[in-house]
């Protein structure tokens, strides 16, 4: 039956939304096309229809499919409840996404490209097997419609994630995603090699017997897909192979299937930006010049230098030099040019998402730009990704104290006070401010007995005594300070306050109030600041929901469930299925957990959600077994064992210890910290399980788009 008289088209012209929905659901009558997939059917039905002049049925299809795709988020629960369940939903949604690029629909394509990060986060819920993976379908569609390289880091991250055994298949979408980014120059783009290497480095050569073969297959595919002369490849690979930190197994696997890369010829041919002999000398020199005289020209020089380091990172995959130099220079300029500093830190977090200094400085620059709320959201996200990081925790507590959230600030500070003297100082000030001066003094006296040469603790203790009017003790502390550090500028302050009597006491009390960050910017930072803040605005909604989720978790741990539920409720009001808020609420509220257990099909691919739903004593061994059957990656199994040990009354400690003995990648600091903590005698599995589940929530794309 010729397509132009297919009765479905008549119905589509009259009721486009309903007709399309039926077709995508496999419920439309399509004579002659019953065996076709939805996308194939659309190709036949529309394939001979004219696209011009508008409006045509093509335009109607573009609008209707766009509306259908946009409605999936709100309808997913209902759609999954139909016969066929999750698999049917994934199949139909995948056909819809495929139709966008197969049919070359401009409005759908534009929306898909813009909505990609958000769609990835949503689609992650609907993953069952390699054949039913909605993330794969979304990625495949975007790979075909993207118009620039804005998603470079999303694709690179997808390559890393594909090292997970359960998600191995995604490498065959992530690499084409990188390869199909439009741009100048010969294909493939260098990012394809970086993505391949990132994936290869995360494969386990010892315990995964398929890893070598699978890696080498993709190497052969790249060689076949992009036939080039020998020298072309030597230039591209040379810089990567010259890296000292390149995993030996990747070098070995490459050499086996690509003999020209085995010897040092590649390194001699490498086409890599030339760096100064001593990068440290360069940044030291820039620092000295900035201290001597700040100027926009000097900022431009710094920017150019960092751009050179980024080009080097792109050519080699090196993720050390750019972050290290960027962090250094950000510290240098943040007083006068926090806008530049913020932009540089956003860029560092693209290359090194676990760099704690970059997170810390990003927040610091935001505060200097007058954006304390955004800074706090950044720090909540940083604390979630890098739990147990004393510096980040301290910084967050300081901001919380500034806005009057003293209880939460105190709780955070008490967790770091043992190892971080600045936290002791901050906690003491908070205790004093909240009318517990005696407790503040006891806290610092205890630490001074153990660390009598700690300048911060001694100084603050002396200040407390002065504020409390206990001049005799203040004088003793001052003498102790002087004996260690002499009459430096801090000692002079104490001396003056001691001598000033009541006035000194009042001034000491002002010293103990939380200091506000001086916002002192140079005019030539304005443009950079505006651009960086605009980029932060784009991240703000997701970061804000993340902050609410993390803050709610803190309140649950403090035993304040009503506050926790109120805060998490804000995130759920914006997105009813916000993953972090869902995990937090499931861990903290038995009622919420019970409701969640009834709709776990809507979170099939999200291990943290499924684990949170099993928290508590009522889940049986069969439920844990089902999870282990689905989530087969060793790190996922480790998370399951930890959750069972910590949240469900135990049962997997031996497997957990075995997992904790396995080595960790150096660019994954949190897993290293977690494993050390698990191995420690008397480990708190409950707290560690909560930390691990929250950290495992997909970080999404906060700060992962272009800086």
């Amino acid at each position: 039956m010729p397509s132009n008289v297919n009765p479905w088209l008549d119905r589509f012209a009259a009721q486009p939304d309903a007709a399309l929905a039926d077709l995508l659901a496999g419920e439309a009558w399509l004579p002659g096309l019953q065996r076709a997939t939805a996308c194939q059917a659309l190709e036949v039905l529309f394939g001979d229809l004219p696209r011009q002049p508008a409006p045509t049925l093509w335009n109607l299809l573009d609008e209707s499919l766009l509306a259908w795709l946009q409605s999936l988020k709100d309808c997913s629960d209902a759609l999954i409840e139909r016969p066929g369940g999750l698999r049917r939903f994934v199949t139909e949604a995948s056909e819809g996404f495929r139709a966008v690029h197969r049919m070359e629909l401009p409005r759908c394509s534009a929306w898909l490209e813009t909505a990609f990060p958000e769609l990835l986060g949503w689609a992650g819920r609907f993953v069952e097997t390699a054949d039913f993976d909605l993330v794969q379908s979304v990625m495949g569609a975007v790979a075909n419609v993207q118009t620039d390289d804005r998603y470079r880091f999303v694709w690179l991250r997808a390559c890393s994630d594909a090292a997970n055994r359960r998600l191995r298949h995604r490498i065959d979408t992530a690499l084409p995603g990188l390869a199909s980014m439009p741009g100048d120059g010969a294909m493939p783009r260098q990012e394809v090699l970086l993505g391949l290497v990132r994936w290869g480095e995360r494969l386990d050569p010892k315990n995964d017997h398929r890893a070598a073969r699978e890696f080498q297959r993709r190497v052969r595919q790249i060689k076949a897909a992009f036939p080039h002369a020998r020298d072309f490849w030597l230039e591209r690979w040379g810089g990567v192979l010259a890296r000292k930190d390149l995993a030996p197994h990747v070098q070995g696997w490459l050499g086996e299937v690509w003999p020209e890369l085995k010897d040092h010829a590649a390194r001699r041919h490498a086409r890599v930006p030339v760096l100064p002999d001593n990068v440290r000398d360069v940044v030291d020199g820039l620092n000295e010049r900035w201290c001597a005289e700040k100027s926009p020209g000097l900022l431009d020089e710094m920017e150019s230098f960092l751009a050179l380091l980024e080009r080097y990172a792109l050519a080699t995959g090196d993720t050390f030099r750019l972050p290290a130099s960027s962090v250094y220079l950000c510290r240098v300029v943040r007083d006068g040019a926090p806008g530049h500093g913020l932009a540089w830190m956003r860029r560092v977090l693209l290359w090194a998402p676990n760099n704690d200094q970059a997170w810390s400085l990003r927040a610091d620059c935001l505060v200097r730009l007058g954006r304390a709320a955004e800074a706090e959201a950044v720090l909540w996200e940083a604390e979630r990704r890098l739990p147990h990081n004393g510096k980040l925790r301290h910084q967050l507590a300081h901001l919380l104290a500034l806005r009057g959230a003293d209880t939460a600030a105190e709780w955070l500070l008490r967790g770091t006070v043992e190892e971080n003297r600045h936290s002791r100082d901050e906690l003491a000030r908070l205790l004093w401010r909240t009318g517990r001066g005696g407790e503040a003094v006891d806290l610092l006296e205890r630490f001074v007995r153990l660390h009598s040469d700690d300048p911060v603790t001694l100084y603050t203790l002396a200040m407390l005594y002065i504020a409390e009017g206990r001049n005799d003790r203040a004088a003793a502390s001052f003498d102790s300070y002087m004996s260690h550090f002499g009459l430096n500028e801090w000692a002079k302050i104490l001396e003056r306050l001691l001598a000033a009597g009541a006035g000194g006491r009042d001034e000491a009390r002002r010293h103990l109030a939380p200091p506000s960050k001086r916002v002192d910017r140079d005019a030539f930072d304005a443009d950079a600041a505006a651009r960086a803040l605009a980029a932060e605005e784009a991240d703000a909604p997701l970061l804000r929901r993340r902050a609410w989720g993390a803050e709610a978790d803190l309140h649950f741990r403090m035993g304040d469930a009503p506050t926790a539920e109120r805060i998490a409720g804000r995130a759920l009001a914006e997105d009813a299925d916000d993953t972090l808020a869902t995990v937090v609420m499931a861990l903290g509220s038995a009622a919420f957990r019970g409701r969640l257990r009834g709709r776990l099909d809507c979170f099939a691919g999200l291990l943290p959600v499924r684990l949170a739903a099993l928290a508590g004593p009522t889940a049986d061994e069969e439920a844990w077994g089902k999870l282990r059957h689905v989530f087969t990656d060793p790190d996922e199994r480790g998370l399951i064992d930890l959750a069972q040990a910590g949240l469900a009354g135990g049962g997997a400690e031996r497997d957990l210890m075995e997992w904790a003995e396995r080595p960790t990648r150096p660019d994954d600091p949190w897993t290293g910290v977690l494993k050390d903590a698990i191995r420690r005698p008397g480990a708190d599995f409950v707290g560690l399980a909560r930390d691990a589940l929250l950290e495992a929530v997909d970080p999404g794309t906060a700060g992962t788009l272009a800086a």
């Binding site: 039956m1 397509s3 076709a36 001979d48």
Partner: protein, 159 residues
Amino acid sequence: MAFLDDRMTDDLAAGDWPDRLRDRLGLGHYRPTTVKPQIPVLAVRYRVEDVVKRAKKLLAAFPLAVPTVLDGDLCEWFFPSPAGLPYGRTLQLDGDADCRRKVAEVLSLRVPYKPDHIEAIGFIREAGAKAFDDPSAARREHLECLRRDPQGRKDFGTL
């Protein structure tokens, strides 16, 4: 779907084998259009022995089966075969008035494909076929062939 028929050898060897096989196997949903003028297809050849081995590994009772209407959606291009026939018969999209172009069709258990299974790669380019203009006539012709088949039934399809 798969077919067991050495009479397909000439079609496979022809330059336009994708179009020929599309017509001989009744794959009426593969229809090139102005927008998509080529449909890539891959012909894969594997041994019955491989299917039987796979079935043993999976403990599957039936490595090969005659296709029935329950194996796919109701479709103009599918026609069930009489019970006496040990295989299905594909509807010839380009007509088969003399019933000389019959193809034996079976369903086989999925065998993991390997590179040496690949017989040919090509593109279906032919948009038209006799059956597309008049599916009813094509079906009547096909039914007649089934009735005339020595292993068929003269009254097959009679209500």
